[in-house]
Symmetry: C2
Subunit: 201 residues, 2 copies
DNA sequence: CCGAAAAGTCATCGACCCATGATGTTGCCG
DNA sequence: CGGCAACATCATGGGTCGATGACTTTTCGG
């Protein structure tokens, strides 16, 4: 992913023309805007403006809009994968995700796609796979026991979490939005910790 | 709403040109398509085709696309309002909603809008208000006690339910989709019934 | 210092979509 | 039977968006 990362980040004067930087700027802007507004309501021109580069560069670096979206999903799942072990506990997962939506100002592109909002079927399936890989599978494995039952419960918990992630930033549910991050996580745990054998350790 | 309903529904031969019928055909098609694909991915042409009438009639009967969407939301919340009392119990509410998404093939337009997918802010706010009116408020009132705490819990439960409603039809979470309606409701109750003082009565 | 390749800019095309108003068509009432 | 009003259709305008390719500018090795 970052294999083509430049070394001149350490040099004093960065190149004015920097393909890697432009690439990243586009990706960051895309992740932000796709996460806030969703795929359809985000235009390539918006992304270009936010990134401070020409929108036509999307074609150069990511092929097309869908390619950029896919890359945004990929990155969106990356830090989740990094925290994989922690995320096997529903409380930790909830905390991790609430923190993210709070500073992203919306559900990420990954959750958005998993909700089935976006157009391209392949993209949605990929997003859902990312969610399963990063969140559902580790937790199922940890719980163990009857796998089917365990998976049912975990999937329900994650689905609930996704609903929460989508609604909290809208502000439509006043209390849900007003609640502090910690209180919200505690409330969520109240519902699911017992069910997932995940009491405070 | 139906105040302008025609009387000739009782006459033997309906008029070939029937404004009320066209109106309703549009609304039904809109509710279906908006619910399945969302606002942006549904075109007025699609709706017109599905309804078997010219798409330009949307302008006549609902002003514009947003107006039609609003009407679809309204109707979407109508049967929920009718079952208002029952819906004060989380189990009943879950059952009611799961049944609906299963035969609608997707979350309704109301849930879609509440999730913040759609564009027009006024429309989303209206949808969210409909959800609060039909689901959150009655349950909060029933639980009573500390209103703020009660509302926090109810909002969380409804948000979770919305997430479930959005994800189950996608088929991305295999177990969640495979589960029968009754089992799914039971699972959901396992998480929230206790929290909402809603054990089997 | 030159020249080619990389990086970035710009104008434009084609597709699509909502909205509008002009234009047909049907049904009903006097 | 005549004419009007309601109903429906059609053609088109105005606008937006994604993609494309030609064009300009910068960078850097030789």
């Amino acid at each position: 992913m970052n294999s083509s990362a430049p070394h001149y980040a350490t040099t004093d004067r960065p190149r004015r023309r920097d393909a890697a930087a432009s690439r990243k700027a586009l990706l960051d802007a895309a992740r932000l805007l796709f996460g806030e507004r969703g795929y359809d309501r985000t235009t390539l021109r918006d992304i270009g403006d936010r990134a401070g580069v020409d929108a036509a560069l999307v074609a150069r670096y990511y092929g097309n809009k869908a390619g950029l979206y896919l890359a945004a999903i990929e990155e969106d799942g990356q830090d989740a994968v990094a925290a994989r072990r922690d995320l096997a506990h529903i409380g930790k997962l909830a905390d991790f995700l609430v923190a993210r939506i709070d500073d992203l100002g919306g559900p990420g592109p990954m959750f958005r796609a998993a909700l089935g909002e976006e157009g391209d079927v392949a993209v949605r399936a990929e997003a859902a796979a990312a969610v399963r890989r990063a969140m559902v599978d580790p937790m199922v494995e940890r719980i163990g026991g009857d796998t089917v039952r365990a998976r049912q419960r975990v999937e329900l918990a994650v689905a609930a979490l996704i609903g929460l992630a989508a609604i909290r930033p809208t502000g439509f549910f006043t209390e849900l939005t007003a609640l502090s991050r910690d209180d919200l996580v505690a409330l969520f745990e109240e519902a699911f910790a017992g069910m997932l054998g995940d009491a405070e350790e």
